[in-house]
Each structure stands twice: as structure tokens, then as C-alpha cells.
Symmetry: C2
Subunit: 355 residues, 2 copies
């Protein structure tokens, strides 16, 4: 089984290195091939997603991704910036279904800025559509205005867009996921204002007839942003578009207080996927050996479960991560008094040992 | 001075009634004229914003607004739904600057789902643009797709849009507001993906040259949704577009745990404004006499300060509200053990008495 390993920028290489050690410890059979992506790729080749990297990603059975982005690239033209690599991979590989679990580990409840009774035991799944919406809609651009009121002034514009088949395919992913959980799907939109959302909602309602065993509810995105703060445990599966999903999945991740623990998966229709931690490239702590590798290690577990049909091995990784937490080992981001602070490498050692 | 009073639906009439009592207690000189809006207006006239209501709103020096919306109207065509009244008022009166303070009262810190050290003393101001963005951008609609991949399927689309003058005018409001506070403006966008945001950011940077005494920073909307949960007190003034502002201002309000306390103002370029509580119409508790009138009473105070040039009277209302909190009076939404639970009417009585 071929796995494309794309470490990227910032802490990406350090945390991916630990996930690779875990995979190698699990089985010598993985064919791991590394390629540059993001700013690291730009430095070498002048493009954040060079053709060779894209080719490898296409050929591989799954992709293990670190993180991209660094202030050094902020002044580049948008199409050369590191983020374009992740947007490009999602689009070229048709990775339309983003799974973002927000889980609060019992051992880490204290790390949350929310009260323990609000987040303790939290386990929700945000499913974000990743191939459509205002991220890719046309037309878009910056031009000189033709509106009488603003004639000649610069104006920026983008197109939000969803078609029925796009909503159906992400909707099915959400309903199927809910069937394996508490059988509740909350679809988030802004149907009181947006036409795109009205279509989204109509299609979700029609689709729900195929899933009579799953309870479908609808929530406006502003209200969802509030309810996540007020009572996050009331959710089970949340399904939403690319833009609202970007915002809400990050908010949900931060509720746990331990975003350094949260993996994510981005899947195509055949369950081929890209796996990456929910957190970013954190250039401020890169190279210091203090980053938390657990989100990336847990992303590797998701990869085994969703793309490589190795659920037992996935379970083993997750059990090993649970075990290092129980042992009291913590990287700086999740450290609290009374636990033992360890480095990125030591955390990797501990997970490998616990396997 | 003429004030248009638009109570609306759900708990709107009950809470507005208490704010009207407070205004009358303050001065017999206010010329208060009431008109129906939202579902209540639809029931009478077939439209959520009847011409007579719009005319009154235009003529008045300020508008005191309750809330609109009720499940009974959910099946109406979008243009007849109660929310259209508030969107229509914003647009027709060019109320482009929405002030949404998120304040955590010391007495109410325990009501928050966040830890006291995270939200205690919170005092941030979200300034949301209210006349542009994807709320009003054209074209928009639901049509049969012409895209080769989706040919014939339904598709929904909307246009996000900002022009330079629109960004400048809301930017100035934010910089001016920051000057009266801690002199920090955080502009929130999604410039790594959206052209509209790129223009927004460019214009904010240019504009900031006029305000060298104010510190301007930029944050992506997904990160802002996280940082509000992690460390909300790090913000001072947040300025953002209509859609991101809708989401973030509700999230920020909910952080306090006492959204029943939070007023808002929507101003035009002459500081004429519409004042309404940050919370909604809560049809589930309408008519029970338990709703919290304080957000509406505090909205009346904002009205005196911003639109009617009566800052001393505004101070008096705010001091009276602080005093009822100190006395331990609480409506059900902010009640905690050891305090005294009161009705909507009793809370109004107490504020009037404290004046
Ligand atoms: C880097 C950025 C383009 C990206 C997004 O907005 O999708 C990121 O925020 C994410 O959520 O993966
Ligand atoms: C009712 C709705 C149209 C409105 C909005 O989205 O602006 C509301 O959520 C608000 O924030 O005032």
C-alpha cells in the first residue's frame, strides 16, 4: 500500500516524522514516499503543489499531510501561497468529504476554556463539504465597479454555489456517518438569507427520506456558532458547506482546548483520502521539538480505518495514544500541573512503545 | 424627538414595553409611535415591512426594535418571512454599521459556559457591516445548471461583494470606535481564499494610515472563531463583513452566557439608528412574562447615546441596570442559586425604580 507523505511547513515535518515512525512500527509493508508541499515546495520548485507532488498524491492509496503556511510566504501572489497546495489537492483529487471530529479527552478536559460540565465527554463530528461553495465558485475577482453608486471604485466579488448532486453526495456521507453514531444529523445553512442555502436545505430534506432512521434537523449558521458554545454535546453529526464548515469546525475544535489532539480526513467517493491534523503549521514553534504529534498520529489511524481497510491497526494506534495520556505524558500545548511534559520526539517514542 | 417603536413577534412586545416604560420614566418629551413589523405585520397587512411602518421608520429620529420571527411563518415564501423586515429596514435606511458589544457583567460571569478567568470582565465590540456582502450581492438565485458536470440539476448561487467605498466607511467607524477604547482593531476576513476579502484587507491597510494611533491586525475568520473561544479578552474592536459578522457576533454574545443582556445598534452615516436586543424573538417563551427586558432597555440607552445625543440619560439607564443586578434581581435566563428570580414586568419595575 502506497502512502504519499507530505510534511509541508512549520511543525509539519516534525509531527509527520512521528506519525511515520508509528506506521513503520505497526507494519514494515507500508510503501511511504515523501514529497514537498506548501512553502517547502515553493522554495524548491517555485510552486506550492509541484506536478511531481500532485502525481504522487494521485497514485498513492492515501496521503498523510502535515501542515502548510508560514509568514515568509504571506507576500506572495495568492496562487503561489502555501494554502493553494491544500486547496489544489482537495480539488484535483475530488476530496469532497471532510471529517472533523471534535473530541474532548477525559484527561484533557481541564485544558478547555469551557467548563468541564459543558465539554467533558464531548464527541461530535463535523462533516464539511470540501469541493464546492464560495471556495471554488465562478465568477470571482477584483475589478473596477460598474455600479452607478461606486462607479470606477475597486470591488471584490466571489460566487457561492452548490448544485443538487453536490449536496446529495455530502448529505449521504453525513447520514451514513450518523447511522454509525447517535443517528442525528444537524444541517447548518443560512437559508433565511442565501439562495444557495435554500437549495441546500431543500435537497437535505428530500434526501432524508432515504434515511428514516436518522433524525435530521436544520440550524442557521449564526445560531450554530452560538449553540456550539452553549451546549456542544447536543450535537452528533453536523453537516455543512465549505465556508461554514471552515468556521464551525475550527470553533468546535477549539472548544475541546486540545486542538493538538484532533485529526481530520478528507475523502473522495472511493474513500481514498488525505489525512491531516486539524491544527495548522504553527511556524512560531517550528523546529523547537515541542509540537504535539498526536493529532497527526491519530490522522494516520483514521487513514488506516477509512482508506486502507485496517481497522484493527487503527484501533491499536488509538489505544496507544489513549495509553500515553493515561500515563500522564503531555506536550506543552496540553500540559497541566501534575502531568509530565515531553517533547515531540518523546511523545512519538511513548506511542511506539505503547503499540 | 420622534422614536419609532417596532415591537415585532415572540417576546418582542413584552420586552419593548419595558424599555418604553423606562424611556417614559426618563422624560415625558419622547414622541413614541408604535407600528407592526415582522410576522405581526404580515398577519395584519400581508407584508412583514408594510409601507406605513417603513415610512414611520424613515421619519423617526431613531427606531426601537424588539425582535421578529416565529415558526408559524417558516413556510412562507422567503420575501414574506419576518426576517425580511429587518433586512429591509437595514437596506432602506442605509443602516450599514452594526455595533454588537459582548460584555460579561461581573455578577453574571457564572452564567457563561466558559471559565470565569476566560470571560470575567470581557468587553469587546464587534462592528459588522450591514448593507453589503453576500446578503445583498447580485446575481443570486436557484436555477437549472449549465455546468457540463451537473447539466439540468438545480443549483443555488449567491454573490459576495464589497466595493472600496463600502469598506472605507465601515473601516472608519471601527477605527473611530477603537479610539474611544483600547485603540486596537482586528479586521476579520478570509483573504487566503476570497477575492472580496483580499479587497477588504487591502482597503483596511490603506485606511489604517489615517489612524496611526490605532493598531490594526488581521485575522482569518476560522481563526477568529477559535480565538474568541480561546482568549476573547485579547480582542478590543473587531470589524468584519455582514456574513462573518453575523456568525462571530452571535458566537461572541454567547460567550458571555448572558445574551439576554446584550444590546445592539445599527447606524447610518448620520448616526440615525435602529436599536435592538442581540437575542431573538424566542417564541417558545413568548407571553409567559419571563423574558429578560434588559437587552432592550440597554438598547434604548444606546439609542440615547448614539442617535439622540443624550449621553447623561444613557448613563442613567445603564447605572439603573447595573443597580438591579447588584440588588440580585434576575430573570430566568440569568438566574443562579442565591439570586432573586423576577418576571419581565418586575425587572422593568426595578429598573424604573432605580432610575
Ligand atoms: C488554509 C485554508 C485555505 C484552509 C481552508 O480554509 O479550507 C484551512 O483553513 C482549512 O480549514 O483547512
Ligand atoms: C434574521 C437574520 C436575517 C439576521 C441576519 O442574518 O442578519 C439575524 O441573524 C441578525 O444577525 O440580525
Amino acid at each position: 500500500m502506497k502512502i504519499a507523505v507530505l510534511p509541508g511547513d512549520g511543525i509539519g515535518p516534525e509531527i509527520v516524522a512521528q506519525a511515520v515512525r508509528v506506521l513503520n512500527a505497526l507494519s514494515p509493508k507500508f510503501d511511504l514516499e515523501t514529497a514537498p508541499v506548501g512553502g517547502a515546495a515553493y522554495d524548491i520548485s517555485g510552486h506550492p503543489l509541484p506536478p511531481a507532488t500532485l502525481k504522487l498524491a494521485k497514485e498513492a492509496d492515501a496521503i498523510l499531510f502535515g501542515a502548510v503556511g508560514d509568514w515568509r510566504y504571506d507576500t506572495l501572489a495568492r496562487e503561489l501561497r502555501p494554502e493553494q497546495a491544500i486547496l489544489g489537492l482537495r480539488k484535483h483529487l475530488e476530496l469532497f468529504a471532510n471529517f472533523r471530529p471534535a473530541i474532548c479527552y477525559d484527561e484533557l478536559t481541564a485544558a478547555s476554556s469551557l467548563k468541564a460540565e459543558i465539554v467533558g465527554g464531548l464527541d461530535i463530528l463535523i462533516i464539511r463539504e470540501l469541493n464546492g461553495d464560495i471556495y471554488f465558485g465562478q465568477p470571482r475577482g477584483i475589478r473596477s465597479s460598474e455600479l452607478p453608486l461606486f462607479k470606477g471604485a475597486r470591488e471584490g466579488y466571489d460566487t457561492m454555489h452548490y448544485s443538487e448532486p453536490e449536496v446529495i453526495r455530502i448529505g449521504r456521507v453525513a447520514f451514513e456517518a450518523a447511522r454509525k453514531r447517535s443517528k442525528k444529523v444537524c444541517s447548518v445553512d443560512k437559508a433565511n438569507v442565501l439562495e444557495t442555502s435554500q437549495l441546500w436545505r431543500d435537497v437535505m430534506i428530500e434526501l432524508s427520506k432515504d434515511y428514516p432512521d436518522v433524525e435530521l434537523s436544520h440550524m442557521y449558521v449564526d445560531n450554530a456558532a452560538m449553540q456550539l458554545v452553549r451546549a456542544p454535546k447536543a450535537f452528533d453529526v453536523v453537516v455543512t458547506g465549505n465556508l461554514f464548515g471552515d468556521i464551525l469546525s475550527d470553533e468546535a475544535a477549539m472548544l475541546t482546548g486540545s486542538i493538538g489532539m484532533l485529526p481530520s480526513a478528507s475523502l473522495d467517493k472511493n474513500n481514498k483520502g488525505l489525512y491531516e491534523p486539524s491544527h495548522g503549521s504553527a511556524p512560531d514553534i517550528a523546529g523547537k521539538g515541542i509540537a504535539n504529534p498526536l493529532a497527526t498520529i491519530l490522522s494516520a489511524a483514521m487513514m488506516l480505518r477509512y482508506s486502507l481497510a485496517m481497522p484493527l491497526e487503527a484501533d491499536r494506534i488509538e489505544a496507544a495514544v489513549q495509553s500515553v495520556l493515561t500515563q500522564g505524558l503531555r506536550t506543552a500545548d496540553i500540559y497541566t500541573a501534575g502531568t509530565q511534559k515531553v517533547s515531540t520526539q518523546e511523545m512519538g517514542d511513548a506511542v511506539v512503545a505503547a503499540l
